[in-house]
């Protein structure tokens, strides 16, 4: 009579393996799917030859409570979202919105002219326009045919 020498994998081991396999598969097809959550606030960065535009969703933060600093190629956005003021008798059913101080720095792809940085705020969306430094702009080189 023959005995099986190896242990049969349990159902859970098999499920785990399958899950890992599926995660790996999805990550190759759609890399953003399992990315860790960005730190607050999340930013989108737009670029062209003349400069950069940074947009960020910062709902519930007054524009005067947002600080924007540019040092060389580093942009820092910081501020605070105050906690909701509710009277002592009120009670929460659900609390999903965060509050507190935040700060984050973003490495820019090139040096920007700090004097020409402009920021606008509308409906909880911050938009910062950062023009590229004049001396840093790429030079066009003409090809001369001989």
């Amino acid at each position: 009579m023959m005995y099986r020498r190896y242990r049969m994998p349990t159902m859970w081991q098999e499920m785990e393996r399958l899950q890992r396999e599926m995660n790996r598969l999805f990550n190759t097809v759609y890399p953003t799917r399992y990315e860790i959550a960005p730190s607050f606030p999340a930013v989108n960065l737009w670029v062209n030859e003349g400069g950069l535009i940074v947009t960020s969703e910062v709902p519930g933060i007054k524009p005067e409570n947002i600080d924007i600093n540019v040092v060389n190629e580093m942009l820092t956005i910081s501020g605070e979202r105050p906690a909701e003021q509710i009277d002592s008798e009120a009670r929460y059913h659900r609390q999903e919105r965060g509050c507190g101080k935040f700060a984050r720095s973003i490495q820019l792809p090139f040096a920007v002219d700090a004097n020409k940085v402009e920021a606008t705020f509308r409906d909880g969306v911050l938009q910062i326009s950062l023009p590229r430094k004049e001396e840093d702009k790429p030079k066009k080189i003409k090809v001369v045919a001989k």
Binding site: N48, P59, I61, I86, G100
Partner: protein, 136 residues
Amino acid sequence: MTDSEKVLDADKQEVTLEEGTELTRDRRTFLPRTDIYETKDALVLVMDIPGANKDDIDITLEKNVLTVHALVEPHAPEGYALALQEYEVGDYQRSFRLSNEINQDKIEANYSNGVLRLTLPKAEAAKAKKISISTK
């Protein structure tokens, strides 16, 4: 500050649809982060809906189900290419079933700095009545 307060989080959660249904707009739809608290005479909802236009927020209350639907137009700066994307722009939608009876005529909605604030006053009948116990 208490320990129960949440920290700021930039993660956006997408709306899950019932099986067999689709959204009419070909766009991602997110669940707005919401605080709900109850005061003596009202229920207050505070929702993060950044980027919406005041006129594009639709609030309906039907059969005790409150639905907020906000359309958000993506703003792509002209002549620029997206180099880094940490968040996606999309619509917002969320429904809540309200347990208290609400005075539907006196609902107040206010939208500022990307935050929608709904004050739903309780109907007279739903207000808690205090009953005093008398001793004989």
